[in-house]
């Protein structure tokens, strides 16, 4: 009896108090964590602000008119030539070549991996693609200039310049191939099994099932991969900086040298550049265009992925 009482009296249990407590430490931590998350928004705002501000200075320059920017075809801001087209055409040309290489091959690789390869073959083949994806782009630049270009010159003859868009584009395609293939494979393997079985049950062969049932069902995901690939190609710098040429050139001819938007930024900013010069601000104008184009592409691609994820879940 006595004992019981002591237990009751000495009890260390807190009284029942279910009210909300102010936990200062918890709130501080939560705030810090939120700030860490919010920093990403701040970074985006900073990018837009910085690029926008300098681009504003560039476009605010009385010499830079809209007509000149979009209506002429020579780019050399230092001497008053403001036609953006040569940088755009070469960006388009190299990106187009890159997609011409990476889309069919990446897609075919994905089809093989998701529809044909045994689990064993898949686990042997996928790391190879991952290695390809992990090689720094400057190494691809070396490969483009010192392997692909000589090879192209051997095939097409002397018409291929030492720096040319074809070589840079092809190597860029090889660089993007693993991305396209892994995203497409994801899309293909998220096609429900029931659909494949439905097709087989009708007497379809493997390739008929792959190409006519699975592929169309995965089309949106493959589209997302294509768009991300384009965005990658447009923003890729080192391969084109090394192999595509050092000087704007208004041409679609892939055998010729022509500097892309990214290559131009790299070359000019690598040199001695005085702040507030038109050369300096013009780089930010180009970078702003790059940022907006890739942003839009990425948003579209993400939107597609989110939508098609919902469909099968």
């Amino acid at each position: 009896m006595k004992q019981e009482n002591t237990i009751m009296e000495n009890q260390n249990f807190r009284p029942l108090d279910l009210k909300k407590k102010m936990r200062l430490g918890e709130s501080v931590i939560q705030t810090l964590l939120f700030l860490a998350g919010f920093l990403s928004i701040f970074i985006t705002v900073a990018i837009v602000y910085v690029l926008g501000k300098e681009a504003w200075l560039f476009f605010g320059n009385p010499d830079v008119t809209f007509a000149k920017f979009l209506g002429t075809t020579e780019w050399s801001p230092g001497i008053g030539k403001f036609g953006i087209w040569p940088l755009v055409t070469s960006t388009l040309t190299t990106s187009f070549i890159a997609m011409l290489v990476s889309l069919p091959f990446g897609l075919a690789a994905a089809l093989y991996l998701s529809e044909y390869a045994s689990p064993k073959a898949r686990s042997a083949l996928k790391p190879i693609l991952e290695i390809l994806a992990g090689i720094p782009t400057v190494v691809y630049g070396y490969f483009a200039l010192l392997f692909m270009t000589p090879l192209l010159q051997f095939i097409f003859g002397e018409g291929v310049q030492v720096y040319n868009m074809l070589s840079a584009g092809i190597v860029m395609g090889i660089m993007i191939l693993p991305l396209i293939s892994s995203m497409s494979e994801d899309a293909l393997s998220s096609v429900p099994r029931a659909l494949r079985e439905g097709s087989y049950a009708m007497g379809a062969t493997k390739i008929e099932t792959s190409l006519q049932v699975v592929l169309p069902a995965a089309l949106s995901g493959i589209g997302a991969a294509l768009i991300i690939g384009i965005s990658r190609a447009v923003g890729e710098t080192m391969i084109v900086a090394v192999a595509a040429g050092a000087g704007p050139n208004f041409t679609f001819n892939p055998f010729l040298a022509a500097e892309t938007m990214t290559g131009h930024i790299a070359r000019i900013s690598g040199g001695d550049l005085s702040y507030n010069s038109i050369d300096y601000t013009s780089l930010f104008a180009i970078a702003l265009m790059l940022f907006l184009v890739t942003l839009v592409l990425n948003l579209i691609s993400q939107g597609i992925i989110n939508r098609f994820r919902q469909r099968y879940e």
Binding site: A194, E197, A201, M202, G203, A204, P216
Partner: protein, 262 residues
Amino acid sequence: METNEIPQYSIETKDLSIFYGTFKAVSDVNLLIEKQKITAIIGPSGCGKSTLLRAFNRMNDFVPSSYVTGKVLMGGQNMYGANIDPVEVRRKIGMVFQKPNPFPKSIYENIAWGARINGFKGNMDELVEQSLRGAALWEEVKDVLQKSAYELSGGQQQRLCIARTIAIQPDIILMDEPASALDPISTLRIEELMQELKKNYTIIIVTHNMQQAARVSDYTAMMMLEKDGSRSGTVIEFSETKKIFTNPKDKRTEDYVTGRFG
């Protein structure tokens, strides 16, 4: 309908056992399926009904570890014989799955696609209409043939799957719980449809629904795990549905169909 003109075959199994790797999922099944009749396969969950059904048209080929011993005979040919083409087997033995799985294409294309890959040369519009009529779906979709099949209701999708199966004109149609994902009204329509279809086709259906088996089928195969603890399923009783439900030979069958089982 001039049913007699069609050269029809039905299925017979001889000592059929089906394995997943080392696991024997179904053992020693001997069945003779009557043509132009509906045969139901019933039994508790996991006893291998789907496995057996999928063995008939070699759908288990897609499970890499699976293989069979024994024979599945159709018109005297062993479907697992060396020179048998699984694609052609599946053309002759169509299948309808538990969950409707239309292709993400238009209603029209869902039917035309199978016909096209199988080399159909006739009038496609006619075939689509006939198949949809055959699946009792024509009246509901005839004005929206180009719409995506995904816009149909679950019951309509399932009938579309039946339509695309009959479009390739199989001899036998396998159905694995075709109505289990459907509401009672859609279920009834599928059951009515099966009565229609059996004039032309041999149907084998897996079902969990005793009333459904009793209502629609002519023959019933009762499957059960073997008593020896091996966890293999086998057919313990096979006879006319009437007999299975009123006068079963096996005590376990009686317990199961009267709901006293597990």
